[in-house]
Amino acid sequence: MSILVNRESRIIVQGITGSEGSFHAGQCLEYGQNVVGGVTPGKGGLRTLEDRVPVFNTCVDARREVGANVSLIFVPPAFAADAIMEAADAGIELIVCITEGIPVADMVKVAAYLRTRSSRLIGPNCPGLLTPGEAKVGIMPGFIAKKGHVGVISKSGTLTYEAVHQLVGVGLGQSTCVGIGGDPIIGTRMSELLALFEADPDTSAVVMIGEIGGAMEIEAAHYVATHMTKPVIGFIAGQTAPPGRRMGHAGAIVSGADESATAKMAVMKQCGIHVVASPAGIGMAVKEALVVNSR
C-alpha cells in the first residue's frame, strides 16, 4: 500500500514535448512503466519517448483514450495555472504540478476553480511524489528511495532527498514521499496528507519537513494532536534564517501565527510530534520513534 500513487496509476504528462517534460516523463516511465500518455496542444496524434507514449491535444482526449487518472505538469509558469484547470475539468483525479514561478494571482484562480471540481492538486513548485518500487510522479531521484513503511511529507525538494537518504541509511524504507511545494498557495496541505498516511495500513510513521513562513505546520501539528496514532517526526528548516528579512506587516497579520522556526517547533512538540533540531538527525529520530511505538 501507499498513498495517492501506485503501480496502477495511469499517468499523463502535460508539456511532454518540452525539454523538461520529455526528460522527466522518460524517467517516470522507466521507473514505473505507467506513463500512458502526454498532452501538448497541437501535437495530438504524435508518439513520443521512442514511440512508447501517445501525445494528445487535450486532457479530455487523454482521459478518454488512455484512462489517465494522474497528470504531471511541466508547463511553463505563464501557462501552468491553465494547465491545472484543464486537467481538473477533464476529471483527472490527481494533478501534480512541478512548475516553479506561477504568479500568486493565477493560483488564487486555480484554488477557486478546484473548489468546484473533485481533483486533488499537489504543488505547484514541488518535486512531486514517489512510491518506491511502484510509481514516480515528479522529479525525485528514484534510486535514493527504498520500499518501506515511512511516509514523507515535505515543503522542500532536496531536503526531502536528504531525509530519504537518512532513512535508507538507518534501514528504513518509505511508503510514499510527497513534496507539497513551497509556494504561498498549494493544492494539498500537510494535514490532509497526514490523514491519508494515518489511514494507510502500510505506513507506520510519518516524517514531516517544514520551513519558516506560513502557518501550515501549526495546523498540521494540531491535526497530529487530535487525529494521529502513528508517530510523526518533524523538522523545520530555517532556525538560523535572518530575522531582518521580513515580509510586510499585512502579511504577518493575515497568517495569524508566529511563523518562526522556533515557534513552530514549540507548537509541534506540544502536539506530540518528535521534533528534531538537527537536519542530520531525521533518520535516527524515526528509528527511535518506531522502537518506542512498538513497545
Partner: protein, 413 residues
C-alpha cells in the same frame, strides 16, 4: 484546497521570507494609486541637494501651501521613527530639513544597524488630519484568497492594533473578480463612514483592490488613510510590494526597481540566477535547494559555527553557477571556510565537482573548502575531486560536513 477552516486570529510577530519581493518607494506607490484615481497626499521628489530650494518653492506654488513635510524615500518602513519624516512650517526650516535628510544614513527599526542612505526625498504638502485609518490588500495564504484588511486605527503599528484590539481589525476576502460592490459598501460602513465620505471610501476601496489585482501586487497598503479637516479621504503614505513571479507581465513595474536599496552582492547573485542572502557569520555555504540550504545553515549553527550566507544554486547547478557562487561567497571578507552541500537529483554531482575544480583552479583557494556530495553521480564526483588534486576536504554526511567546516573556520579564525 479551501477545505480547511481559517486558523484562529492571533498576532503574527515574526514573518520571515528568503524570497525577496520587489518593492517600490512611497512616491512610486502614490503614482500607482493616482493612476487609478485614488487621492494621495501630493509631493515633489528630488535627488539633488542643489535643487532643494527650487523644489520646495515649486511645492509651495503647486500645492498652494507654505507648510510641507520632508519625507525620506527609502524602502524600509519606520522612517518617521528614524527621523526621516519632518514637518516644516517655514521655508528656512524646510530647506534645512531637506538638506539634512537628503544624503543621511537613515536607521529605522527595519533597516538594521547599518541604516540606508537616503538618495531621494519627497517634499509633500502638509495635510490637516481629522482621522487616521488603515487599509491594505494582500494574500491570505491559509485559504488561497485575497483579503482586504482595514481598521479605524491607522497611522500606528497595525501589528500592535491586532495584538491588543483584534476586534478593530476588519477582514474581507475576495477572489480573482475583485471586491464585490456590496463588500465595498459593508466595509465602508464598518469603518464608520457616512454621507459623502462613504461614497469616497467605497470608490477608494474598490479602486485599491482593482489596482492590487492589475499590478499583481503582493501587498498594497495605505497607512495612514486619512480624513482631512476638509472632509476628503486621501492616502498619506502608501506601500506596494509585487509578486516576483508575475513581473514578466509588468515591465512598467520592473522599471521602478531601485537596486540601490538592495545589497549589491545579492543583486549580482540574482543576475546569475543565484539566490544569495548575506548574513553575519564566518562559514560560507553553497547548497542546491532553499530548504536544504536553510537546513545546512541550521546545522552549521548547531555545530558551533555561524553561517555567513544563504546561497541556493538551484536546480541548474553547473560549472558556471558553482564558479560564480564561489566568487560571491568569497567576496565576503568574514568567510573563513566554505561548505558545499549538494544533493543531486536532477543536478548531477559530477558537473558540480567539475565546477568546484575549475573554480578552485581559476580563483585560487584562500580558505578551506569542505565538500559533501550525495545523490546522482556522487561516486563519480568524488573520484573526479580526488584525481584533480585540488585541496578540498571531503565529507560523507551532513553531520560530518558541518563539523569539518566549523572546525576549519575556527582554525582559520
Amino acid at each position: 484546497m479551501g477545505r480547511n477552516a481559517m486558523p484562529p486570529f492571533a498576532l503574527g510577530r515574526v514573518c520571515v521570507t528568503l524570497t525577496p519581493l520587489m518593492k517600490v518607494h512611497e512616491f512610486q506607490a502614490k503614482e500607482i494609486l493616482e493612476k487609478v484615481g485614488i487621492p494621495v497626499q501630493r509631493g515633489l521628489v528630488t535627488d539633488t541637494i542643489t535643487n532643494v530650494e527650487s523644489v520646495i518653492q515649486s511645492a509651495y506654488s503647486q500645492f498652494n501651501t507654505t507648510q510641507v513635510v520632508i519625507k525620506a524615500q527609502i524602502h524600509a518602513g519606520g522612517r518617521g521613527k528614524g527621523g526621516g519624516v519632518k514637518f516644516c512650517p517655514t521655508f528656512e526650516d524646510a530647506v534645512a530639513k531637506a538638506r539634512q535628510i537628503l544624503g543621511m544614513t537613515l536607521v529605522t527599526p527595519q533597516t538594521g544597524e547599518a541604516g540606508q542612505l537616503v538618495r531621494t526625498i519627497m517634499v509633500a504638502e502638509a495635510v490637516d488630519i481629522a482621522k487616521e485609518l488603515y487599509v491594505a490588500v494582500t494574500l491570505d495564504r491559509a485559504n488561497g484568497q485575497h483579503v482586504v484588511i482595514a481598521s479605524t486605527e491607522g497611522g500606528v503599528d497595525i501589528e500592535e492594533v491586532a495584538a491588543h484590539t483584534p476586534d478593530k481589525i476588519i477582514k474581507v476576502w475576495f477572489g480573482a473578480d475583485g471586491l464585490l460592490p456590496f463588500q465595498a459598501r459593508q466595509l465602508a460602513f464598518q469603518l464608520g463612514f457616512e454621507g459623502d465620505l462613504f461614497k469616497q471610501a467605497v470608490s477608494l476601496l474598490t479602486r485599491l483592490v482593482t489596482c492590487y489585482l492589475d499590478t499583481d501586487a503582493s501587498i498594497a497598503e495605505i497607512n495612514p488613510l486619512v480624513v482631512t479637516e476638509q472632509g476628503k479621504l486621501l492616502a498619506l503614505d502608501a506601500k506596494f510590494n509585487f509578486d516576483d513571479n508575475a513581473l514578466y507581465r509588468h515591465p512598467d513595474i520592473v522599471a521602478l526597481r531601485d537596486t540601490h536599496e538592495e545589497d549589491p552582492t545579492e543583486v549580482e547573485a540574482s543576475s546569475f540566477h543565484l539566490n544569495y542572502v548575506k548574513l553575519e557569520g564566518n562559514v560560507g555555504c553553497m547548497v542546491n535547494g532553499a530548504g536544504l540550504a536553510m537546513a545546512t545553515m541550521d546545522i552549521i549553527k548547531l555545530s558551533g559555527g555561524q553561517p555567513a550566507n544563504f546561497l541556493d544554486v538551484g536546480g541548474g547547478a553547473n560549472v558556471d553557477t558553482v564558479k560564480n557562487g564561489f566568487r560571491i561567497i568569497l567576496s565576503d571578507p568574514n568567510v573563513k571556510a566554505v561548505l558545499i552541500n549538494i544533493f543531486g537529483g536532477i543536478v548531477r554531482c559530477d558537473r558540480v565537482a567539475n565546477g568546484i575544480i575549475q573554480a578552485v583552479q581559476e580563483l585560487g583557494l584562500s580558505v578551506p573548502v569542505v565538500v559533501r556530495l550525495a545523490g546522482t553521480n556522487a561516486e563519480l564526483a568524488r573520484d573526479l575531486l580526488a584525481q584533480s588534486g585540488v585541496s578540498i576536504i571531503p565529507a560523507d554526511s551532513l553531520q560530518d560536513a558541518a563539523q569539518k567546516v566549523v572546525q576549519a573556520a575556527q582554525l582559520e579564525g
